[in-house]
Point group: C2
Chain length 248, copies 2
């Protein structure tokens, strides 16, 4: 399909978020380099899901390819949030060692386009077997050893996500088709690092015409089964049309 000739100095990196009904997680890839002779581990840390683009591949297509490879999923919420071109972004000692070992000739200036991906966790689990890819709670990232400037890219993605969920209904991308209001509240709490009063939260949700109550209820739960809701983008768009709002 592609020429498989990579562009040496342009890559994409995906910051893939998932929600497990308790906390927000990010998908990271193992990076390990062993000394060929001694077997000694020279590098062991984590990277975002990224790679160089092919010469005949669009940026969005490259990001979608990487996501598909890792998760088996198509049609995921995937959006650019920033590009990164810091001069020293691949200049670290470990990173130079890695680039020299793995990608000969790629040790120069690399500009990467950052993508934000939001995944419904319940759909992806099965595809992650036997891959050096794992979900980590976002709260763990600070203490993790990460490649290149990937920690900085992750923080920038978190910031973009937190801004975005306040003004666009993208949080729903992290939920399954049917969800309970407790799940929705937990999601917003995880996204914004806040905790909300249950009654106030439900009052707010009652004003969101596009969060629609269903007759369906939870099954097989120990507690009183909660009602399911769904998000309708169509209702969102129709009810927002013509609304002009300012920041106040």
């Amino acid at each position: 399909m592609f020429s498989h000739k990579l562009v040496p100095n342009i890559s994409v990196d995906c910051v893939i978020f998932g929600f497990d009904f308790e906390k927000l997680n990010v998908l990271l890839v193992d990076r390990e380099l062993k000394d060929e002779k001694t077997g000694e581990i020279l590098i062991k840390d984590y990277t975002l899901a990224g790679y160089h683009i092919y010469e005949d591949e669009e940026l969005d297509a490259a990001a979608a390819r990487i996501l598909k490879d890792l998760t088996g999923l198509d049609n995921i919420f995937l959006e650019q949030f920033a590009s990164f071109g810091q001069l020293d972004r691949v200049a670290g000692e470990k990173d130079q060692l890695w680039l020299k070992a793995i990608k000969k000739g790629f040790s120069e200036r690399i500009v990467t386009v950052g993508y934000l991906a939001l995944i419904d966790n319940t759909k992806v689990e099965l595809h992650l077997k036997d891959r050096d890819v794992k979900w980590f709670p976002v709260s763990m990232v600070e203490e993790m050893d990460m490649a290149f400037d990937h920690k900085a890219i992750f923080y920038k993605a978190m910031e973009a996500l937190q801004k975005k969920v306040k003004v666009e209904p993208i949080a729903f991308e992290l939920l399954p088709d049917y969800f309970t209001l407790s799940q929705l509240q937990k999601l917003y709490e995880a996204l914004l690092g806040a905790s909300f009063d249950k009654r106030n939260f439900r009052k707010k949700v009652a004003q969101m015409h596009y969060v629609i109550p269903l007759k369906k209820k939870q099954k097989g739960v120990a507690h009183k089964p909660a009602q399911y809701y769904l998000f309708s983008r169509e209702v969102y768009e129709k009810t927002r049309k013509g609304k002009i709002s300012f920041i106040i």
Copy 2:
């Protein structure tokens, strides 16, 4: 200062907006190519303000350099809004002719990082003498002949700007330090392509604690001099702190 060795396949393009108290304008650069022998004009159209990055130059620095060159201004509101890597973005016949004539060897895949720049028109006018650079009303762009994918980049920038002014107080970057409420209303109308009722608009503004009335009034105007206001980012940030809002 820089090595002046350009990166052939990475550029930045600035979509520079200004407001003349009546309408929103965009700064465009003339592109003209003449046949060396006959003097016949081969290309005559417009481009955004952009160029390749230097090998030892950060993306933000490249955008700031281009802005400084064109407008003489530092410390302008300047923010990435998207990157563009479409396969055919420099493939047009005119564009290939241009690249071959002007930038030998730069005819291949070029990814460009788009920057949004907001300028206080009253500060910039003097610096534009003798340059092939001009303000054009944004409403004119549709009918203009533009280089590469610059029209698409412009539209994407408009979209980003319209989204952003609703959630961040960046519109004020387009105004001088002191402005009247009529000027502010005209600005929001120009930005959002809408018209507002004067009384409702003023009610909204009265709720923005960060738009602060001054004792100062307009001078030398034919009509009744209007009161001046200023925008305080400090007040904005202090009054927003801890506010958690959702889209409703």
